[in-house]
Every structure is written in structure tokens, then in C-alpha cells.
């Protein structure tokens, strides 16, 4: 499993891996918002956490279609599925998800505080948003894995995956954003939505890989 994790991390940072694609997309989205909204600093600060979250969510979805498709194209996926007896397929999927998260999504979380400055956010708000992103984005990857497994055989599955996955990620978005607001706006709580966000991630860490493994097993042709 460690070998698989290391291999996928290596692939994501080598040529054509696309680790930077998500970050650049994220940067482009966030950098455009202030121009569109105008120089109203209070408004920017107010919508900042939500914009960061939406940007990160869309950037997460961007690379998901390659999660299994790259392995399918070169035949590795067959061998990963056949290895089910030794390495449970759901665990294999979980490992791939974690590697994908560490390779493509973690850079987004790291870039988020910097982009928060663009949105005129307070330091505590930036910190809270980065923390909620850190806890919440794995959930998006786990849901996305199930979508990617369903659409693995489709040549242009990227858009389909986004459409399939986006509605399911809405709860993650809602609790992520409300926890981020809770840190800055006084009457709103931070801890409760944050804990629900953490619970969502843990729940989906089990459900997503199991669903994806099932889809991969029956999708082989």
C-alpha cells in the first residue's frame, strides 16, 4: 500500500502529473473575483471564505477524472482489481485517494492562506478557512473517487464526474463555509459545524472507497 501511495505521489509531481493544474486554476478563480466584485473591501472580506471554498471545491473536481482513468489506459487497473485477494480493493482505492489528495489537493490548502489575502480576510478567518479546507477536502476526494470509478470507462468522463459529484459535495461545502464564518462572526459557532465536517470526512472515507471498489469491480470489461 505504501508502494502504491509513493508511486501515485511520484506520478503526480512528474511531468504531466497535473499537481499544479489545480493550484493554477484555484489561483485564477480567486484572483479574478476581486476584479469582478469591485474594490469593496468589506464585501470581499465577507464573501472571502465562501469564495475560497467554492474555488477549492471546483479545483478538487478538476483532476478527479484521471484518478482511475490513467490506470485503466495502461492496464494497471486490471492488476489492481486482480490484487483484491491480497490487498483489498477498497483499501487500494483509499490509498489512491490519499495519494491524490496529498499530491493534488494539499497544494490547494497550502495556497489558500495566500489567496485569502486577496480577499482582504482577517488572519483568524484565513486560518479557520485553511483548517476547514484541510479537514473537508479529503471528503470531496472520497466522494469523487466513487464518481470517477463509475465514469472510468467513458472517454470524456471529466464533466460527468463533476456533475455526478457536485450535488454530493454540497453538505461538505455548507459545513466548511459555516465553520469558517463561525470563526470570525461572533454569534455563530465554529466548533459544531467543524466537528460535523470532520465527521463527514470520516464517514465518506469509508463509504467512498467501498462504493468506488464496487463500481470498479463491476465496471471491468
Amino acid at each position: 500500500m505504501l508502494a502504491l501511495f509513493l508511486r501515485d505521489i511520484r506520478l503526480s509531481i512528474r511531468a504531466g502529473g497535473g499537481a499544479l493544474t489545480g493550484v493554477i486554476f484555484f489561483l485564477a478563480v480567486i484572483a479574478t473575483i476581486p476584479f469582478g466584485v469591485g474594490p469593496d473591501l468589506n464585501l470581499l472580506a465577507r464573501i472571502g471564505p465562501a469564495i475560497l471554498w467554492i474555488g477549492a471545491l471546483l479545483a478538487c473536481l478538476l483532476g478527479l477524472d484521471r484518478l482511475f482513468q490513467a490506470d485503466r489506459e495502461d492496464g494497471s487497473l486490471d492488476l489492481l482489481v486482480l490484487g483484491d485477494d491480497r490487498q483489498m480493493l477498497a483499501l487500494t482505492v483509499l490509498t489512491k485517494c490519499l495519494a491524490h489528495w496529498a499530491g493534488s489537493v494539499l497544494p490547494l490548502v497550502i495556497a489558500a492562506p495566500l489567496l485569502g489575502l486577496f480577499m482582504n480576510m482577517e488572519p483568524i478567518g484565513i486560518g479557520a478557512t485553511a483548517l476547514t479546507l484541510l479537514v473537508g477536502t479529503p471528503a470531496i476526494t472520497f466522494i469523487g473517487a466513487a464518481g470517477a470509478a463509475v465514469a472510468v470507462a467513458l472517454p470524456r468522463g471529466g464533466l460527468l464526474i463533476s456533475v455526478l459529484v457536485l450535488p454530493l459535495t454540497i453538505p461538505v461545502l455548507i459545513f466548511g463555509v459555516s465553520a469558517s464564518y463561525g470563526a470570525v462572526a461572533n454569534p455563530d459557532p465554529f466548533l459544531q459545524p467543524f466537528l460535523i465536517l470532520a465527521a463527514l470526512t470520516l464517514f465518506l472515507a469509508v463509504l467512498g472507497p467501498v462504493a468506488a471498489a464496487l463500481a470498479l469491480r463491476h465496471g471491468a470489461d
Binding site: A3, L4, L6, R7, R10, R14, L82, G83, D85, Q87
Partner: protein
């Protein structure tokens, strides 16, 4: 161990590709599957490997022991694609499969030497020619110990010398008690192998 198929049928997308295939392979035996394009050779291999469901009949493996209770756990599947990442070096690819597949056999360097690719383990897999890629994929069969080899057109793209080297490898594998099922159009140079011709009855 023994691999037995009785009245095996396979389908793809709801359409029956073949039916009534039967064979029994003891350890040390090989089966060469031939037939025209579209006869279902690859489908048969995928059904045997467990990548496609068995549509009819049954398929069982006996005497695999604890290590190899099912066909999937006992087999190396070498498909049309080489299952190697072009961005990683040849040795990195082999080392990954060695770790992932378990049941270590030869080291990556030793396996490359066996297929005559020593000295290029550091090159990215994407730099290799078609024949070299195939040989690297054959080296993948050697990094992990599996009694059953399922080979789909294993010698596609190989030159004469590599074909002979691969024939020796297969003979050696059978000599050690392994089982081989190979789908091919080219003679593999494997002596004493059973033959199965598909697509004749249709």
C-alpha cells in the same frame, strides 16, 4: 495445483462471445489458445482471470493452498497493455509491482537482466521501444511468484532473440510446476502444450 474449466461461457455487453469451452491443466502444463480475431481469446483470458464474470459453466482451481485460493490470487495477467507508467523509470515500475503484488521472487534488476534489458532500468518507461516495453512487462512476471500465467499476445512486438528467450522462460516456468494459458497468433515455441482453437464451431 490444478485449473479446471467446465463448459465455460463468456459474454461481453450481454452478447455471448464463446460457450462450451473446457480444459483441465495440471501443474507444469500449458495451454495455447488460438483462433481468428474476435473469436474470444482475450475474453476467455479475462474470464479466467476473474476480470469478467463467468457467464456459464464453472471455473475452479484446486490445490492452490492458502497462498493461492483463487485464480485471481494465483495468476499473473499480462494483457495487451503493459501496465507500466511512462513517467516512471523501468526499475521504479518493477519495484512498485514487486511490492504491490507480494510473494517476492526476483529483484527488479535481476528480472530485467533475465529479459535482456540490463542497464536500462534507470530510463523512463516512455523512452523504450515497443519491443523493449513488452520485455519490461514480461520482467513483471518475474518479480513476483505466481503459479498461473495468463498471457494475452505475449510476444507482440518482440524480436526473434527475445521470442526465444521468452520461450525458454515459459518452459522454465512450466518446469517449476507453473501453468500457462497463452492466447496468440504466433508460434510460442512451447513444447508439449495443449492447444485450444476457438471460434471454429461458430
Amino acid at each position: 495445483m490444478r485449473l479446471i474449466a467446465e463448459n465455460l461461457g463468456g459474454e461481453r455487453g450481454g452478447e455471448t462471445i464463446f460457450s462450451g469451452i473446457g480444459f483441465a491443466l495440471e501443474k507444469g502444463q500449458a495451454l495455447i489458445v488460438t483462433g481468428p480475431n474476435g473469436a474470444g481469446k482475450s475474453t476467455l483470458l479475462r474470464v479466467v482471470a476473474g476480470l469478467l464474470p463467468v457467464a456459464a459453466g464453472r471455473l475452479l482451481v484446486e490445490g492452490g493452498g492458502e497462498d493461492f485460493p483463487s485464480v485471481a490470487s494465483a495468476c499473473h495477467y499480462l494483457g495487451h497493455q503493459n501496465a507500466m507508467k511512462t513517467a516512471l523509470s523501468v526499475a521504479e515500475n518493477l519495484r512498485f509491482w514487486r511490492d504491490f503484488l507480494g510473494a517476492d521472487f526476483l529483484s527488479a534488476e535481476k528480472a530485467l537482466e533475465t529479459v535482456g534489458l540490463d542497464g536500462i532500468g534507470h530510463l523512463p518507461f516512455g523512452y523504450l521501444s515497443t519491443g523493449q516495453r513488452r520485455r519490461a512487462a514480461i520482467a513483471k512476471l518475474l518479480v513476483s511468484r505466481r503459479p498461473l500465467w495468463l498471457l494475452d499476445e505475449p510476444t507482440a512486438g518482440l524480436d526473434k532473440a527475445s521470442e526465444e528467450r521468452f520461450a525458454r522462460l515459459m518452459t522454465q516456468h512450466c518446469g517449476e510446476g507453473g501453468i500457462i494459458i497463452a492466447a496468440t497468433h504466433l508460434p510460442l515455441g512451447l513444447e508439449g502444450a495443449q492447444a485450444l482453437v476457438m471460434g471454429e464451431a461458430v
